[in-house]
Symmetry: C2
Subunit: 371 residues, 2 copies
């Protein structure tokens, strides 16, 4: 049987990511591939670093894109910063805190879990209690914007608490980067990872990360080798020029980086603060429309992410059928619930290029038609 | 300072990869992004699996693309198949055997190195001696097509020896897949990894892999967890449908997979055997032209890879200057030497879409003009 070229349908992507990718970024993906050691490519890598520093609001030298999706960005932070026997406090309020625990344990670390309800922000008081109870902890990790619930936590306060007790911090910003305020240097975040396919609206496959000098120093001073060769920052630092040289480490995903570069240029041209305002404004319009329909939110207003709206499925409504009808009748994708929230909620993304008045209206009208 | 959109030069890529990507594949990369759980996407994943089975000449159920470059594909094989304390025999005849050693040691394994000269094929007699001397070895790993030297090893014989002594095998086929005969089932290779950016001529960023039932069983029966969450095949198997379900694991690099799909359709349409013949024919033409110029090969004729031609830099010639002139005057990229061969050789790729009469003539003429 002969297989033909694949022509995907044109969807409107309003799930938890990937988000709608603009034609401008898609066209960048199709530019001619060049070598990963070509001077023109290395110049582009330098620009990506500068643009990522802008997006993260950081001056961190060690700012680049891991050549793999967000899960690998998460793993990159943990395998480099956790050594066997290290005690790590993880604040969990959704699916991705659980994945952090998996990471710590696979690094031979000892994970201390601080639990909050799914849909709530992380409670700083619980973190402080855990820090007092575990004075030997060396690291605190939490999710800034929980993609499984749409809740936002107070990263600045959590980082300050961790530092007060002598811990470094790893922050998951997969869904927050460029969608909601995130100030890496001002909040003194030590290590952070994100994804290309959320508020940056680039295709999935890359994970922007940033490490401050303290985190980089800890990585340099490790007593054991990083267990992943591919993600070992002592090797990757050479490749991305953090140390001023350009050693071959692995072959970079050239065309994906074209897409990320274009996405970051778009953020720069709009202005980060303008992007935050746009995400907030479109969230309010969606919220008002949903509330008119009698639909309620999982997350209390104060902690809601504007870019990811998690709503209760109205009683008596068939979860899978509605999503299927939205997809087949409207080419509209919204997200289902994850983990403990499966079957209970939908997740509506208004991320990056997809955070627009047009998408708000389209989503509300489509939902009205189907419900 | 404002950064503008990036417009790469259009190069002819005749290094060790990435190879020239055809416009057909570039256009596929620019198709609209859809969700990684979209039924249309899942259908495409099934097709990629079928097409990869064709390219690898295997019926292995566990055949898919790791969502990251070839180095991660290598790591995927090792972290899944090596447990702490395992003894692994590695046949090294170039840079990438050394990377295998790094992988084994980072998994807590014990690497026994069998060395051959860089530029030679792996010597089966040396492997057999090592197997006899190390009856407690559980795994043999080697590179089928050494990207750093252009030498091809006799994978069939090496695998048979390993099996005779009760070892499973991991084979690096980054540069061989679709460029030179590779028969995964007939040769009984247990685990194999490749890259998208060599003879498949897709952009870099994906690593096709395949595991036979014996390897999959060993992974299922591990006594310790795989140290990488991102690469844990016990989790990934669910995602790629090896077990008949479609659990969410990580967000797949959607548009890169469009490119890989298109590249595999092109292989299918040409026919694998025809592709091997084409690579061989163009290699002979390049060889004849280079020999006329008095240039000699690193690798003895018998062991040469048609897709990667490693030649000695003529005496008195400035390595870096020639490559720079080829790049700036002809937009032609050829590869430098790697590791111990740096400054001594050039590597000329005739891979996939780039293995053409036109490229052979262009490369010979450009070299003549510059030397």
């Amino acid at each position: 049987m002969t297989i033909a070229s694949f022509h995907p349908p044109r969807r409107t992507l309003m799930g938890p990511g990937p988000s709608d990718v603009s034609d401008r970024i898609l066209q960048a993906m199709a530019r001619p591939t060049i070598g990963h050691l070509d001077p023109a490519f290395i110049g582009m890598m330098d620009e990506i670093k500068t643009l990522l520093q802008y997006a993260f609001k950081t001056k961190n030298e060690l700012t680049f894109a891991v050549s793999a999706p967000g899960s690998a960005g998460m793993e990159c932070c943990f395998v480099n910063l956790v050594e066997p026997g290290d005690k790590v406090i993880i604040c969990q309020n959704g699916v991705f805190g659980g994945r952090m625990q998996e990471n710590v344990e696979r690094c031979g670390g000892n994970a201390v879990m601080v639990q909050d309800a799914w849909g709530s922000a992380v409670d700083p008081e619980k973190l402080e209690a855990a820090l007092v109870k575990n004075p030997d902890a060396v690291l605190v990790a939490f999710v800034h914007a929980e993609t499984s619930t749409g809740a936002q936590s107070d990263a600045k306060t959590l980082v300050a608490l961790a530092h007060k007790h002598g811990c470094l911090t790893i922050v998951d910003a997969v869904t927050s980067l460029t969608g909601t305020p995130l100030l890496v240097d001002e909040w003194e975040i030590d290590a952070i990872y994100s994804g290309s396919q959320k508020c940056l609206s680039a295709p999935p496959g890359l994970s922007p990360v940033s490490f401050n000098a303290r985190a980089a120093e800890k990585i340099r001073q490790r007593s054991s080798k990083v267990q992943s060769w591919f993600l070992d920052l002592n090797l990757v630092m050479g490749y991305w020029g953090g140390e001023g040289r350009r050693a071959y480490h692995h072959t970079a995903p050239v065309n994906c980086l074209y897409g990320l570069h274009e996405a970051l240029v778009i953020v720069q041209d709009e202005g980060l603060e303008n992007a935050w305002v746009r995400h907030h404004k479109n969230h309010l319009a969606l919220r008002d429309g949903l509330q008119e329909m009698g639909i309620s939110f999982l997350v209390p207003e104060r902690d809601r992410l504007p870019q990811l709206n998690t709503i209760y499925i109205p009683e008596g409504v068939d979860d899978a059928l509605v999503r299927q009808r939205l997809l087949t009748e409207f080419d509209l994708e919204i997200g289902s619930g994850l983990g403990a929230l499966a079957g209970k909620v939908w997740r509506i993304g208004l991320m990056g290029h997809g955070s627009s008045e047009k998408n708000v209206a389209f989503c509300l009208n489509s939902l009205k038609a189907v419900l």
